[in-house]
Symmetry: D3
Subunit: 274 residues, 6 copies
């Protein structure tokens, strides 16, 4: 169950509204690496968590934090849209810079939302919830969360570099710090789950003797000329999960050319396929 | 540039066609954790790789492998659909089991594809390419790839547990082994990039003194009653990236209640908002 | 800013797990009339609210409530999936009823989520956030919310009629009651905003003398034979907004056949179009 | 069955083509509040209408009208795209205003449609038909239609305010007038269905004694500090549907912390979850 | 401008309602090869038609026909859903066949639409308007229409083969006949536009001397071993457009290994990429 | 099975990076007429090909070619994004042209991909795999492929006309030539399958006596005034498939006004519908 106090988690100040930056900030709300994604991902992972209940609490607690981040960014978008022109013609005619700004804003923020934030990315593409990864496997979920916070922090630093507004830089420096913590937090959870050698290969509940083990630690080459592929840590030494030795080798097709045979009558194929 | 030899990477045998299992296999083709996703993700990461060119080669080489996995699975789907009924009425009337099977297949595999595979998941939802994570940051990409191979291996083991067909189990044991390798491979690449202390927090090119550092390693609590959140490795000790100490504390709102003020004239709001 | 206490807003009991009902419940989570939609819709309307701040508080308060409804339903889905078969073959062979159940469940709940809820509808289609209506006009938003709670309550009553489980019926009777309240609540807000005569036509800030007023209260007929269209309250008497009189009349085309002329050179058209 | 006469319902004149305004007009075609949506929504509601057949006729008649509105807007988009530059370089180099215009147009209108309209919104996002609300409940459908015409009229007034072109203003003043009528028309239909006290809560066919009635007219508070939520018409007095009295109270969790227990073997979870 | 007479274009009879067939029919409404697609495709092609106005008339006339087909199929879906069970438990317990039927229906048709048709495919995936191909090139549009009617007729014959209901077979035999006509109609339009030698390669307005002509009629081989690809009409003889001679040859890479160099500072890459 | 040699199929040169042209090129990667679409379409058609295996080889060979085209275009996008500004404020203030460019780029290419290509179209909309047409009918597939290459070539010529860069023009002249070949190639395959009279109407395996033949070659008129529709090759003479004679006639409704009757109890309708 959730509660609110109607206040902002961290101050949101905009010294000089910038409609173009509003558009860029939309990526941090509704982009696939944005805050809706992490809030909902942690929420659904929590709802489906089985096993030690402390992971449910950890996930739900952080979901609550991320909901507040959406709120901060949505407020920042609306404040940056203050001052956006509402009419096309004059602006373009009189002021190329204003025209560029107008040309660059996401028109839906004006047309559909009346100068407010929307759950869309910087191109106006709505967020779709297929990006909520909640696998039922706690280690895979932690790995997905490290990834989400990594792409989220990259985005936040790009936004930080893009703006000069001190208020926006301050807000982003807070979000970047939280991404630092969250990357570390999910890696810490992975460490509790056994780390590289205990948790991997994910899922660790499947008996490895049932996999085709001669391919489990082989770096296969798919070079057209049959040469060995680019070497690296992945082609020699002990595997990262500690359960095998990396080897490297070119691959040959092990199966024949497939042939599905003729089509069935009444299946809508051409006569020539029957 | 790509080449083909029209052969299968690994043999695909189906002893007893099972249209319901065909539907389940579709998840491994067009699900968000399926093979289209990894093939295209590694491909686009390769195309945008900057820095040491060996990562481009590593990624493109594995993209070629994954294309062959799609081909194997698409062949398996078509082979499992052999024997699916083409007519509704009789089956249901005469044979409840057949009726159940018919009720359970993805009708589009019949209606749109003529008993062949489609780039959709097990519910017939088409794959959408927003799931291709290629961030321009090589460490974040490697993390995304570990995640992709983890959810992919979970899916493959669930499919393995779902079927009794020896041919299908054999094919899946190959794919599971490759997922083992690929999890290890991307972790090995992350190790080359510095591992937990060198690569994190991602991106490692942003100066940490510019983030709001008092929040960088703090596990904040969002419990309604102000209590401390669930403790764990994430709430004490050195941070996983080696750059700070975890602390734990309840959070208070640091910002005020936001107030956007009145709406602008001509912005389509109600009079009461102006 | 949001908080949680990790508890459920209302008890969720399942006496006999029913995987098919789990699939139906998914509609109440990720359907276009489901709880993610209302939670996020009220949240975004709150974030963009301009004018009297009490509407922001009203919206954010109810958003917090709806987040708890998602949590309840996600828990109910996971509890109903307990007992779902993990393997296809035996079930179908031995037990047509079990086979029917297996054929009917949303396979992604098993394959992608490990028997947990997902942010998808009853066909496994992910929720997409374009359904978050937040127009920047408070009256239109209230109207959208009445609609959302109406379709939501219809869905909840259909689910109530579909199940025999006392625990599920109890949970749904709570959600239905809340939908009753929320329909009334948003209508009450609309009453505060002037009701039918004060708030309509929405937006009420556009000067009606600028619309083509001879068409503002005319029920136009588009019957092929030029006859009058079906009469009703909408074809005579004072208009509902109190600002005009309904009239009814067949429509004639007022514009000519459009002609865009030839295509531009270099625009990729055929030569015959130039 | 439908007919056409190839003529426009209302004249479409463009005095000075404006590619940027073409982009804005796309929102009125393919936006979620646009004309495709209402045309198809009324059409599908008509096709599924049960009960008094006059509602079917009313809906189908208005669907025919809206199809003509799409045609008008598509013509307006094509006329505004006349004069759009076909080449990038020179324009930007020589003419910042032209460059701004070019930067602002939806490139797909040129690249995919050859300077014609598309069924997409102002950001080039295709309309998706999940926005067609046709619930099988006639009152909910009427409420959805009031909402659709409200957001549609807001959009049309924003477009009216955005342009100076007399032809475009004239066309929009016609569409705004029709939105006025349609808002009133669907409210009139709702009045025929019993109005606030007769039609609500929707659906009115579900026995209210089966809902958990102590929550049916209670304005619950979800404030973190347990304080009462923002008061208003919704917190006291008779409910709008005339069937209860509004009360206001803070909410406590009525359910426990959920615990799904361990994961099932073979479900793809980690060993630690079993 | 469009008109209606509220009647059906062709009779729709269902002797024995079949909810499973209702689900299959949904593919013909909202599938990518369904009637919404052709209706809207011809409509948008008409709206953007430039050049000889008779093509606009042809397209708009057929768009009106297809709208009537959607209406027929939506009626057929609703009629087939009569008799679908509204409750899960009893049906499955008492009647495996009924259970299979229930397991097989698209639950949204019940839960969201109250036993009526929806603009979705047979898996409940909503139609999205990106499938409306209207290129601004009249020959490409005619080719797209031949394709649309081909996949549409394949679907209709599969549905015809799937059902035993005489009413449904009669309705489908009408739709199949119309698909026959429409395939021929669009090919006839293509013939008016010059046929294979006059219209191709599309667009015929681009000067062929500006294309890299040594590759214009070469069947290139991408076989891993450098062998020639599978021969056929496409590898020898005059090209179908009459403007060249087919030749066949293995392909070699003509470009180098690409190298994008280091990443830019401040672009969010890892230090190792700079 | 697929192989790569890490080289480019054709040289990609960019003399002067142009971020706006990068955005336009995205349409050729992730647009519905782009290279991902043809690569995956041919690939899935190959995987499901039944009948003469030479069509499988033809399709898979060309799929391999198209994968190389995606690689070329993705490289071109990244090269054109070199030099894109990373910060908003200064550019707009100092340089209207730069501002226009910045306003015009797809921000996701910077924010999500770090100045690299993405599988999205020129508006940042991700490609979705529902556009992969693979019908199980080889003739319909060939027709779909002619269409795909036609819209692809139109797009490529529009891009060619849009840029002045010699490197980009050279690359595009290669892609245009390949589209010429591929249009011819698929028409050649259609010729092998019997051409217009042998392959049509598609599917040619359905007995034409089972279609309602009086409508098979009739050009029906849906003009509101009952007049004949626009004449052409489609209204007289032998049909293109050689199996009938075109006739032209106005259409009358052959069915009655549909009436679905009252709604079922418990189906969530209003009382007035029961």
């Amino acid at each position: 169950m959730f509660y609110t106090d109607n206040k902002l988690q961290y101050p949101v100040r905009v010294e000089k509204p910038d409609p173009l930056f509003a558009r860029a900030l939309q990526q941090a709300i509704g982009g696939v690496e944005g805050e809706i994604r992490v809030a909902m991902q942690y929420f659904f992972q929590a709802c489906g968590a089985r096993g030690n209940p402390k992971f449910r609490d950890l996930l739900m607690n952080t979901a609550a934090e991320e909901l507040g981040h959406i709120e901060m960014l949505a407020t920042a978008v609306a404040m940056n849209l203050e001052g956006a022109p509402l009419s096309l013609k004059e602006e373009v005619a009189n002021d190329p810079v204003g025209g560029a700004v107008l040309g660059g804003i996401n028109l839906k923020n004006l047309l559909s939302a009346g100068l407010s934030a929307m759950p869309v990315d910087s191109d106006g593409v709505p967020f779709d919830m297929s990006h909520i990864y909640a696998s039922g496997n706690i280690a895979a979920d932690m790995s997905a969360n490290v990834t989400a916070e990594s792409t989220g922090r990259i985005l936040a630093t790009r936004l930080y570099n893009m703006t000069n507004d001190p208020g926006m830089k301050d807000m982003l420096s807070y979000l970047i710090a939280r991404d630092t913590m969250h990357q570390n937090q999910w890696m810490a959870a992975l460490e509790e789950l056994g780390g590289a050698t205990g948790a991997f290969p994910i899922p660790n509940s499947f008996p490895q003797e049932q996999e085709k083990q001669e391919f489990s630690y082989a770096y296969l080459g798919f070079q057209q000329d049959g040469s060995a592929p680019a070497p690296g840590r992945w082609s020699e030494g002990q595997s990262i999960d500690g359960k095998g030795q990396f080897v490297s080798q070119p691959m040959q097709p092990l199966g024949p050319e497939p042939n599905l045979g003729p089509a069935k009558p009444n299946s809508g194929a051409q006569k020539e396929q029957l």
